[in-house]
Amino acid sequence: MKAPRFDYERPTTLESALELLGGNRDARVLAGGQSLGPLLNFRMTQPDLLVDISGLSELAETRDEGDAVVLGARVTHSAIEDGRVPDPSRGFLARIARGIAYRAVRNRGTLGGSLAHADPAADWVTVMALLDASLIVRGASGERRLPAASFVTGPLTTRLRTGELIVGLRIPKLSSQARTGYFKFNRKPGEFADAIGAVIDDPQRGVRRAVIGATEGAPFVIPDAAELLRSGSEAPISRAVTSAGFHAGTYEHRVHCAAIKRAVARLQ
């Protein structure tokens, strides 16, 4: 299938991009195009206008804010994988990036694009919720910050308002003793996940969180996961997965339990 006709603009300033996105036309943002491309070809989205943000150099910038790192929304998965951007996570983000789809997708796919697309099975949706990152969002009325943990509200739906654009992510730095664990269950490397378990144990910052990812909608965040993190504790894991909406005895329940269990076992 091929996309229907649409207009295309490639602004070079954030202001003109926001102006295009805030206009009367049904506009969609084109970042890496790795999800939008197929959606256009399947005619599942038929926008009047594509706003290509590849000309917005400020969205590719990164900066160190002391207790956090800000990554521009256009940073690609492979830039994170290759360590070409500052790392707040002691190698965690690079490990995650390496497991996203395939290298060809990682070369084009972007951090902001992945979050804006909000596929529940996407790695960054789960990981940014786990790290308590915030999204920096710009719109006609200015800038606001949204916690990643509540940004995704359902499959392919977010708190982003019409006309708004994700410009970057602010990711808190992990302390020196922080340990992270991640397990993604997919049928083949690079395919969509059936289940994701993500855990962090950062005693210096008092952070012990877990996220059940690849859900039916929003990632399920467990802000105080101390009990889960104690190894071998299957009952609390099972309870948490049930709370995340998966009924005991189902395939989904089993694989999500296994994912969290293995994420805990992989804490490093």
């Binding site: 049928r187 395919e191 089993r254 694989v255």
Partner: protein, 793 residues
């Protein structure tokens, strides 16, 4: 040239050097393929070409009440009312009781599957054609669909074809009196076994570019096709024009696997439109169309009972088998290509006393079932080999021991089995033993005694089968489908500069025929393979052939090339004899030269050709006028087919928490007779085994209760990739077939036959202590965890 006798070589598959039969010659065609310079249908661009998009049914079963064309561009939209001169595709079998279906190339009163074409739209681009298709409105009166083949047979089920009275294309029976063996059987195992519907997935989908040549008054159709001469015959029939007015060209084709051995309604529609418009017309199938509307295969159900004595020696089999044939009978192989074969091949490589089998080819509201590598054999091997393992567990014996007690022994070869199949040659027990030894089953049994550190469970499994290939006239005549293979032909021409042109009507799309047939020419004529050009896949340039299917080309086209080259050699020696003034008997063909034996007098093939074409004044008056061009036909004297065979053995680790399976080791021991090019055979086996691994663990086209196909992208339809296919060890045996020109046997499909059975047996071996037995492919995490949960694990 026939090789007689059975001499299995211990060193099968080793490069014997040279450029002839048996050499591991690098593939000539790879010069373009590996550089991305293949020429496929979608590479063809023509001035004034228009693109076609089809309006396809979104529902599985409905009556069409009305079709509304858009008011502005309605003249660019066609329905069946516009194609009144086009006949539907009909592919009947001559088997008694076969019910005929008419597949109209655009829906006629009713749609019977999701994706069935309702209207054809054209525009200057595919995108605009799809815009137009979106504006066509169709009113459907939905009918209850027939989705599952088992419920399709219940009384009161909706009817796919109203006038049939039931949903059965064909029912066949092999009857036998099983009472005696039932009484004697110490072991009786009954299993209900299923294989999922799949979608074969060549890298390139189907595609057509058609245009009308006014000068030649000829429709030229470029099509991604395996059987261009059959496509031509089918197109001529549907369009009602002479075959001579149609030229079908299959250019480079990116994998066929059976999907491209079918006349598609899309080809007929595009050809009709090219004739109507007088402009080139193109349709390139996309993956969505391929998965949801076109490429469907494999779906089998077996209710099978094996009877054995206390040691597992097979007394007999009793089976009811069904194949979900989908909505229409596809041209030319028909809707019974799978089920009707099941009854004749189910006994596999084993001996038994009694055998009964009852089959149904069932019509449902799904895409027609099409041939896919291993046709019927993959499902049959799965059912039979799972039963053999179940018998072995009952007998408390190693599965290979039970098989050794039942395989046809080498001293019985050639052997006529219980369904009258003629096994031409081979040593099945040796094949099995070599697989057991290559996998080192005792090593895995030892490992199974200790718990794995990661908690996974280890299992070993194997499967053995034999595969009839290159079967010919006598076999297909009995089946009575629109295509009966006869003599395979090769037109050979030594050109003025000594290049040998070989023209065959079959097509090479991964088989490496441009290389292997050059090796056959080398073997026969002594010519350098670099001096040989294979011309294939063009009905205007090649002799008639039923094409590439049934693992037949190396036997059939190989035999035809050998015969044509022998004739060219005879003529070369005749001319050279005149020129060198020696007797023909004193001349030998070696290294591209014709030599006077025992002397240094010689002429190159190019010199002989030069005289014949460009310096005929040198020829004496009595030279034979036949020249250096000939067409020769070939068919083995006995055309029941070569029987290649193989044993696949593997070790797996099963993760009972996630339901996943890792292949730890995989061994294939196979016997393709004399191998023309062992390297190419290795490639065929690797590729086939990868597809078999897909069947075993990944590939499935599920449908919902309304008949909606649920896998519409390759994110939903999982294919094995580099990380899912282990390094496969191959061990070749080479027992020459007494039937073929060099002893070669067809092996193109075999790799895809045994993996589901071998892998399922290994999984069941790993899970036997848990009381879990997997009987349905693919064995996905979801199925495995459900089975574990059902067993309380």
């Amino acid at each position: 040239m026939t090789t007689a006798g059975v001499t299995a070589t211990a060193e099968g598959g080793k490069d014997i050097g040279g450029n002839g039969v048996g050499a591991r010659l690098r593939r000539k065609e790879d010069a373009r393929f590996l550089r991305g310079r293949g020429e496929y249908v979608a590479n063809i661009a023509m001035v004034g070409m228009v693109d076609v998009a089809f309006v396809r049914s979104p529902v599985a079963h409905a009556r069409i009440r009305a079709i509304q064309k858009p008011t502005d561009l309605g003249q660019h939209v066609f329905t069946i009312s516009d194609l009144t001169d086009v006949k539907p595709i009909v592919a009947d079998s001559g088997l008694r009781g076969f019910k005929s279906s008419s597949q109209y190339v655009l829906a006629h009163t009713k749609v019977r599957q999701v994706g069935e074409m309702v209207a054809m739209c054209y525009a200057d681009s595919r995108s605009e054609a799809e815009d137009l298709a979106e504006k066509v409105s169709v009113e459907y009166d939905e009918l209850a669909p027939v989705v599952d083949m088992l419920s399709a047979l219940e009384s009161g089920a909706p009817l796919v074809h109203d006038h049939w009275g039931d949903n059965v294309f064909l029912e066949t029976r092999v009857d036998d009196d099983l009472r005696a063996i039932r009484e004697r059987a110490a072991i009786t195992v009954r299993r209900r076994i299923r294989t999922a519907r799949q979608s074969m997935a060549p890298l390139e989908g189907r595609g057509v570019v058609a245009f009308y040549d006014r000068r030649l008054d000829q429709l030229t159709v470029y099509s991604a096709a395996q059987m261009p001469h059959i496509n031509r015959a089918g197109l001529a029939g549907c369009l009602g024009i002479d075959q001579g007015r149609i030229r079908v060209i299959a250019p480079d084709v990116g994998g066929g696997f059976g999907y491209k051995g079918i006349l598609l309604p899309e080809e007929v529609c595009v050809s009709w439109l090219a004739l109507k418009l007088g402009r080139p017309v193109r349709w390139i199938e996309d993956r969505f169309e391929q998965l949801t509307a076109g490429a469907n295969c494999r779906e089998h159900y077996y209710d099978i009972t094996g009877y054995a004595d206390v040691d597992g020696k097979l007394l007999g089999l009793d089976c009811e088998a069904m194949v979900d044939s989908g909505a229409y009978s596809s041209y030319p192989f028909s809707a019974c290509l799978e089920a009707a074969q099941v009854s004749s091949i189910l006994p596999g490589p084993y001996r038994m006393e009694r055998y009964a089998c009852h089959t149904w080819s069932v019509a449902t509201n799904k895409a027609p079932i099409l041939p896919y590598r291993g046709v019927a054999r993959t499902g049959v091997c799965f059912a039979l080999e799972l039963v053999l393992d179940a018998i072995a567990r009952e007998a408390e014996k190693e599965p290979y021991e039970v098989r050794l007690a039942n395989l046809v022994p080498s001293e019985a070869m050639p052997f006529v089995n219980i369904t009258n199949k003629y096994f031409d040659s081979g040593d099945y027990p040796q094949c099995l033993r070599r697989a057991v030894s290559a996998l080192d089953i005792p090593k895995w049994r030892e490992r199974q005694r200790h718990a794995e550190p990661d908690g996974r469970r280890i299992g070993v499994g194997l499967a053995i089968f034999c595969e009839q290939a290159a079967h010919g006239t006598s076999v297909y005549f009995g089946w009575g489908i629109p295509m009966v293979p006869g003599h395979e032909q090769c037109a050979a021409r030594l050109s003025p500069d000594g290049i040998l042109e070989l023209r065959i009507g079959a097509h090479s799309h991964g088989q490496g025929l441009e290389t292997t047939l050059a090796q056959v020419a080398n073997e026969t004529l002594g010519i350098d393979p670099a001096q040989v050009r294979l011309i294939h896949g063009d009905t205007a340039l090649t002799p008639y052939s039923t094409g590439t299917w049934g693992s037949r080309c190396m036997v059939m086209s190989g035999g035809a090339v050998a015969r044509a080259c022998a004739e060219i050699g005879k003529r070369v020696r005749h001319i050279a004899g005149k020129l060198l003034e020696v007797a023909v008997e004193d001349l030998v063909l070696e290294e591209g030269e014709v030599r006077v034996a025992g002397t240094d007098r010689r002429m190159t093939l190019a010199e002989v050709a030069h005289v014949w074409y460009r310096a005929p004044q040198l020829l004496p008056i009595d030279v034979d006028p036949a020249g250096l061009e000939t067409t020769m036909g070939y068919k083995p004297l006995k055309d029941t087919g070569t029987f290649s065979y193989a044993c696949h053995a593997c070790a797996v680790a099963v993760d009972t928490e996630l339901g996943t399976v890792e292949l730890l080791d995989y061994v294939v021991v196979e016997d393709g007779g004399r191998l023309i090019n062992p390297m190419i055979v290795d490639g065929q086996i690797f590729g086939g085994a990868a597809q078999g691994i897909g069947t075993a663990l990944y590939e499935e086209m599920p449908f919902d209760a309304q008949g909606q196909p649920l896998a519409s992208t390759l994110a939903d339809y999982l294919l094995p990739g580099a990380t899912e296919v282990p390094a496969i060890q191959i061990d070749h045996m080479e027992t020459p077939s007494p039937l073929s020109s060099f002893g070669q046997k067809g092996i193109g499909e075999g790799g895809a036959i045994a993996p589901p059975a071998a892998i399922a047996n290994a999984i069941n071996d790993a899970l036997k202590d848990l009381g879990v037995e997997m009987l349905e492919s693919p064995i996905t995490p979801r199925r495995l965890l459900a089975a574990l949960a059902a067993a309380g694990k």
